[in-house]
């Protein structure tokens, strides 16, 4: 179930990125045609997945006092690196959630008669900025998760024991 869930998010993110990021390099220079249809079809699914993910994982991604202490601990490098993955995942998790709000709202609210034509480019810019932040968060989260899944490759035994503990 978890794999399916992550696969759905991953696939949606990949296709949204593909259609969204390549749009400026197309003939029309903006999202249109079938790419737009695909983008618009996947967006609600992605938004729903993010919302579900937020509800399920938020309790596990709460910053703790340990994270604070870890941030201030500058002596033990191996512990810093190992714990850093967990900290990175948490940071990325909250970054994704924070960025997702402007990403979703900038488009959804644009469908209501709220923003004037002159304001809409600004709203779209907000969408772009949010998307970039969100992409950084998702890639960061995926990277940390990937590293945690294969600790032998990335960590010394000392680091690995910390990673396991986290």
């Amino acid at each position: 179930m978890k794999i399916l869930f992550y696969a759905a998010i991953g696939l949606a993110f990949a296709l949204l990125s593909l259609t969204g990021y390549t749009a400026p390099y197309t003939v029309t220079h903006y999202l249109t045609g079938y790419a737009l249809l695909l983008h618009a079809a996947l967006a609600p699914l992605f938004a729903l997945c993010i919302a579900a993910w937020a509800v399920v994982y938020a309790p596990r991604r709460v910053f703790t006092e340990e994270d604070w202490l870890w941030l201030r601990n500058r002596d033990r490098l191996e512990e810093r690196t190992a714990h850093g993955l967990a900290f990175g995942k948490k940071a990325c998790f909250w970054l994704i959630l924070i960025a997702s709000l402007p990403v979703i709202l900038s488009i959804t609210l644009n469908m209501f008669p709220i923003f004037a034509a002159q304001t809409q480019p600004i709203v779209i810019t907000v969408h772009y900025a949010g998307v970039i932040l969100m992409s950084i968060g998702i890639l960061g989260y995926a990277g940390c998760s990937w590293a945690q899944m294969d600790p032998d490759r990335y960590f010394t035994p000392e680091e690995k024991s910390h990673a396991d503990r986290d």
Partner: protein, 613 residues
């Protein structure tokens, strides 16, 4: 054209007064001689001589948009309303223009001389340019030109606000070949009788009494002698800004809606309802380089860009003119309308002309149907058949409402090149054959059975000088005979419709397309995309055929249909995404508050404050 350093004439520049310049002036004839009420032979006054001898630089004015179609080096600009040569018995309906618009033919391509062009279309020509026929292109017509005179730029056609001014009378004089007398006849204080058409080639208008046949009445003009004051001057009610009714003589149109209601039930353009005049937007200076009023217009008129829709309503700058809100134009906000619409559509797509129809309407226009003239054919199906509103890609690739005409004409084909056949030859061969077939009951009037088409093409092939294989183009198709003499039909580029954008009447924002929701266009049955364009063809087998609007728009039908279907799910899209955003916001708020509580506690702890205090 006024050359540099040449002093302006009396009326060429304003002294700044906004009062009316009263035109109580002497009348001059073609030779610039004064016309007096006691003249033995009353000659028609010449507008050119009367207006231009001392006061206005004629050549400068005659270089303006309304007169310069035939001049070399004049930029054609956006395709406009063509002249449409119609000869129903031969199934001819072909757009003509001296301008280099794609899809129109030059009058000379049909063998029409300038003189014949004026005779055919002079009813709505403002004169000047090709109509003056200073360089006669047909030796046979030189003599007739001496008889009829040329058609000078008629200042009064636009600037005479006299209620007695009658452009319909102008048309009558054109039909009688009284070109020299036409402008005078249209003014409110003359009566012209006689007909130059009936005059022999040797007729001299300065010596009209030398006719041998007493039944022939030479063109003569009588003046209302009370119009002359004691100094032999005549008052002209000249206005700087022509009244709309003057524009309407040539620029009226009527959509055949079939609702049984007349003109009284139709709405006025929103700009006119707001108190503007046509010339408030379509302005010009002395050079009469009139603003046509479209985005991207290239003109010597510095107000050209500023006078487009965007110019007044959005404030597009033009040569330093800051124009937003000009003439009280409201600045539209277009709330909720995705910006892509402004790239893919013209303003007129949503705001001008009739709303999209399931099947295009026929429209009658002054220039094409002679509206406003005497004895005009008032039937709804009078040719030419112009279809409107047709939503199609304009010359910039943006979708705009257009008028559209399917050319149908006889011609010859060499390789892939199609050349229209001279109208004289078509009348002589096809016209005669058509009459014969109609008399024998083998051909309905103005319709073409395939058998007749075959016979006509054979007759044309047997004519002495066909340069290439004879063809007939109609309704998007080309008809020709194969090697065995059988009729074949194919689609051909030259048979594709000519279209020109329509801009009026502009509807108010509340009546614009989309004001009632996106589904006006984005639904599976939306006329904007999926309306049908009637194909007009006199060929019987192609009657009542239609083309798809979306093909003219240059869009992928499948994609537009899917997009339209997606609007069914649009409310769900909004619900799901707003719900998702709400949940995420709640999570952020909840854990944000928790974090805040933790921080406050940490600060309190550091400050040594006990939680229980």
């Amino acid at each position: 054209m006024q050359t540099e350093g040449e002093p302006p004439l009396l009326g060429d520049e304003s002294d700044g007064s906004r009062a009316v310049s009263v035109h109580r002036i002497p009348l001059l004839d073609e030779e610039a001689a004064d016309i007096r009420p006691d003249d033995e032979l009353m000659l028609p006054f010449s507008v050119k001589a009367t207006c231009a001898s001392k006061c206005h630089h004629y050549e400068t004015i005659a270089g303006g948009w309304h007169f310069n179609a035939g001049e070399e080096g004049v930029e054609a600009g956006r395709p406009g309303h063509p002249w449409i040569y119609v000869d129903a018995p031969t199934g001819t309906q072909i757009p003509l223009s001296h301008r280099d618009w794609e899809g129109v033919y030059q009058p000379a391509d049909l063998g029409l001389t300038a003189w014949e062009f004026v005779k055919t279309f002079g009813r709505h020509l403002p004169g000047g340019g090709v109509a003056e026929m200073t360089g006669a292109d047909d030796p046979d017509k030189v003599m007739r030109l001496m008889v009829s005179g040329g058609l000078e730029a008629n200042c009064l056609a636009c600037h005479d606000a006299d209620a007695a001014h009658d452009q319909a009378e102008y048309h009558i004089q054109i039909a009688r070949e009284n070109f020299r007398w036409a402008a005078a006849a249209a003014s409110g204080f003359t009566a012209v009788s006689g007909s130059a058409e009936k005059m022999p080639d040797t007729f001299d208008y300065l010596m009209p009494d030398g006719l041998n046949d007493p039944k022939l009445i030479p063109p003569t003009v009588e003046y209302d002698l009370t119009a002359f004051d004691s100094k032999n001057r005549v008052f002209f009610d000249i206005v700087r800004k022509p009244p709309d009714e003057r524009c309407y003589f040539c620029h009226s149109f009527k959509h055949i809606t079939g609702d049984g209601l007349g003109e009284w039930a139709s709405e006025e353009d929103v700009h006119l309802s707001a108190g503007l005049q046509c010339v408030d937007c379509h302005r010009n200076g002395l050079d009469h380089a009139m603003v046509r009023g479209y985005k991207g217009e290239s003109s010597t008129n510095p107000l050209a860009a500023a006078s487009s829709c965007e110019g007044c309503h959005l404030g597009e700058e033009s040569d330093g003119f800051r124009t937003a809100g000009r003439l009280g134009a409201p600045v539209p906000t277009h709330r909720g309308l995705p910006a892509v619409h402004f790239e893919k559509l013209t303003c007129t797509a949503c705001h001008s002309g009739p709303r999209p129809q399931a099947r295009t309407l026929r429209v009658k226009t002054s220039m094409a149907h002679g509206l406003g003239t005497h004895n005009v054919n008032k039937s709804d199906d009078a040719p030419p058949a112009i279809q409107s509103p047709t939503f199609a890609a304009d010359w910039n690739g943006r979708i705009a409402p257009h008028h559209l005409v399917w050319p149908s004409f006889w011609g010859t084909m060499e390789g892939e090149e199609i050349r229209p056949a001279p109208v004289e030859a078509v009348r002589r061969i096809v016209g005669a054959l058509a009459k014969q077939a109609e008399d024998a009951g083998e051909k309905p009037r103005n319709r073409m059975p395939v058998e007749f088409l075959t016979a006509a093409l054979k007759a044309m092939a047997e004519d002495e000088a066909p340069a290439g294989a004879p063809v007939y183009l109609a309704g998007g198709q080309i008809y020709r005979l194969d090697e065995d003499g059988r009729l074949t039909r194919d689609s051909h580029e030259a048979a594709q419709p000519y279209r020109w954008p329509l801009a009026h009447n502009v509807r108010p924002a509340a009546q614009s397309l989309g004001a009632r929701g996106c589904e006006e266009c984005h639904s599976p049955g939306a006329e904007f995309f999926f309306g049908r364009v009637a194909i007009d063809s006199p060929v019987e087998e192609r009657e009542l055929t239609e083309a798809a609007m979306i093909d003219l728009e240059g869009l992928d039908e499948q994609q537009v249909r899917i997009l339209a279907l997606s609007f069914w799910f649009r409310p769900w899209f909004k619900v799901v995404t707003l719900l998702s955003a709400g949940i995420i916001a709640m999570v952020l708020l909840l854990y944000g508050l928790k974090a805040l509580a933790w921080i406050i506690n940490a600060i309190a702890h550091q400050a040594g404050i006990d939680e229980t205090e």
